[in-house]
Symmetry: C2
Subunit: 115 residues, 2 copies
């Protein structure tokens, strides 16, 4: 039986395969912004129906980078970032929920006007 | 010499004076947005010159409620909220710096456009 020797091309292909495998869980890569929009209804009380804050101690989420939103939701979920309300809101979220919410808020276009 | 008796009007005036004294330390009440704008130049690398993020892991600060911005900067300064860069940025800030920065970012008007 012939044993296959690794070639440079084979090694490259394997390397690219590994890269793809590593890159796959990148937040919001396969995120569903429409599902995020539906899920975001529970955020609206404090963060506004358009992601513009309706509470003085709640941040605007509209147009925030997906990576940032996902990181914060995970930090609330793990308890690394502390907030009484957000701890409760983030606890039941799956990674997919978080990526979808992040994709939704990131998809809202914001413009800023300096005073 | 005639002694003045407290009147209802006098009591009201005294009460309003107390209210004003209590209200004075409210964040951003006496904040200087122009000073905050100057101080915010150091924020621009990550948070953008207009407060719209220029880094995927940095949030937009434009139009964020002053109370929220101040609370977060104080949390970074105390170490309650953790971030390698923000810990360094927030450490030297005085309470006045923080109120000024919060007033500046809150003064930027943002509009959101749903996709």
């Amino acid at each position: 039986m012939q044993q296959r020797q690794p070639t440079k091309l084979g090694a490259l292909a394997a390397g690219l395969g590994l890269l793809a495998a590593v890159a796959a869980p990148w937040p919001a890569a396969a995120a569903d912004a429409a599902a995020g929009k539906a899920k975001a209804m529970q955020c609206a009380v404090c963060h506004g129906p358009n992601g513009l804050s309706s509470a003085p101690d709640a941040p605007n989420l509209a147009g925030q980078p997906a990576l940032y939103v996902a990181a914060q939701l995970k930090a609330y979920r793990s308890g690394e970032r502390k907030h009484e309300v957000m701890a409760v809101m983030a606890k039941p979220l799956t990674d997919a929920d978080i990526d979808n919410l992040a994709a939704w808020f990131a998809s809202i276009k914001v413009t800023a006007q300096l005073p």
